[in-house]
Symmetry: C3
Subunit: 160 residues, 3 copies
């Protein structure tokens, strides 16, 4: 994550999205919380829940420390170690910037590769993000991961 | 769809592609025709048909009014309401611009999410587009959707 | 492949990635070696092999002439003619440029469309690339294709 200020906002957002999924797909989860500001929001929910106005979601964190806790729990549980993931993110739709940050929406696909080599389409959805500028470059103030399907694999353990 | 002229042509094309699929995936089909100029061409065909020089295609519209008609027909038929779609578009290949417009080719993948949550790879192909500049920003003068597979689902009802 | 020097490095890399997959997906394999410099490296391996430090890989070429030979062999064998492929590449992660070139890492998905129209997720992985500047524009000095799955289809014949 470079803090290169000479790139356009769009390029910097694309950069951060590329680095974020690279962090997860390389299983470097310990640096996943670094993409967020300390006072952040992260949640995973479904499109159906969003339509019904249910805010709770499947996964929910209200600050960066909770993200670190989540990674520690995953490392101890080791439930996910026998799969690999491959994310592809599309182009971000960038809304008008306000003092509260830069709202964007970005579609994604996640493919899961099982230990025996079977490759399957795992899940799809959108990232509803709010980015903010920090001294270290762009960071996520908020990421709501909205999954298209409500049929959630109980192995949903890795960050999305 | 902003008319921001300070972005590069490439960024503006990426913007429009992102907004186009967002419109469809959010089921906001009523504004789908707005991505086209009034005197536009839109068709859906297959790679096999293209190779054989068959121009007819599966779906065909020769102006923006026909696109509005298509959306109305879809809303009345309601055949598609029990699925959701997720498009991912790749990078556009942009050809040399002429007075007739800006020809580009962009690959895409569409995933379908059934009402019971089953997620499947639905179709793949390329957008063969010609963009033109208007007072409101870039618009599609022509979009030919070339599907890779000739095994077309009879439910092919949403715009692509 | 234009040598347009007015675009940003990022845009030029995106351009080349788009043209590269377009060349393959349009079955124009004869110009595939042109994306490389004469003194190039190209190999295909798996994530598991990389982790174990096995350099050999599944496919290996040490200069552009070997790439031409590979295409000739494919054309004579015709083993792949009854499938089509659709690549989607994500955003490139671009590392710091050195005199040796521009290292990047780019995720990809390949979908295979069989002659009977069946569409399946074929493989996923990353391109570990080193680009260099030439008089004709950016070219690949090195591409290591790292596949996520070790279950490799014996039909793996087309360039990736």
């Amino acid at each position: 994550m470079s803090a290169n200020q000479s790139l356009s906002l769009r390029d910097r957002i694309n950069d951060l999205q590329a680095e974020y999924i690279r962090c997860i797909d390389h299983d470097e989860l310990e640096r996943w919380p670094d993409f967020f500001v300390p006072d952040c929001h992260y949640s995973v929910t479904t499109a159906a829940n969003m339509q019904e106005g249910l805010a709770a979601g499947l996964i929910w964190a209200n600050n960066q420390a909770m993200l670190h806790d989540r990674v520690s729990a995953l490392r101890n549980a080791n439930v996910y170690e026998r799969q690999a993931y491959r994310h592809i993110v599309g182009q971000a739709s960038i809304s008008a910037t306000s003092t509260a940050g830069i709202p964007t929406e970005t579609p994604f696909i996640v493919v899961r590769i099982m230990h025996d080599g079977v490759t399957q389409l795992f899940m799809t959805g959108i990232y509803q993000d709010v980015f903010v500028e920090t001294e270290a470059g762009l960071r996520l103030k908020s990421r709501i991961v909205v999954l298209d399907s409500s049929r959630i694999d109980t192995l949903l353990a890795i960050p999305l």
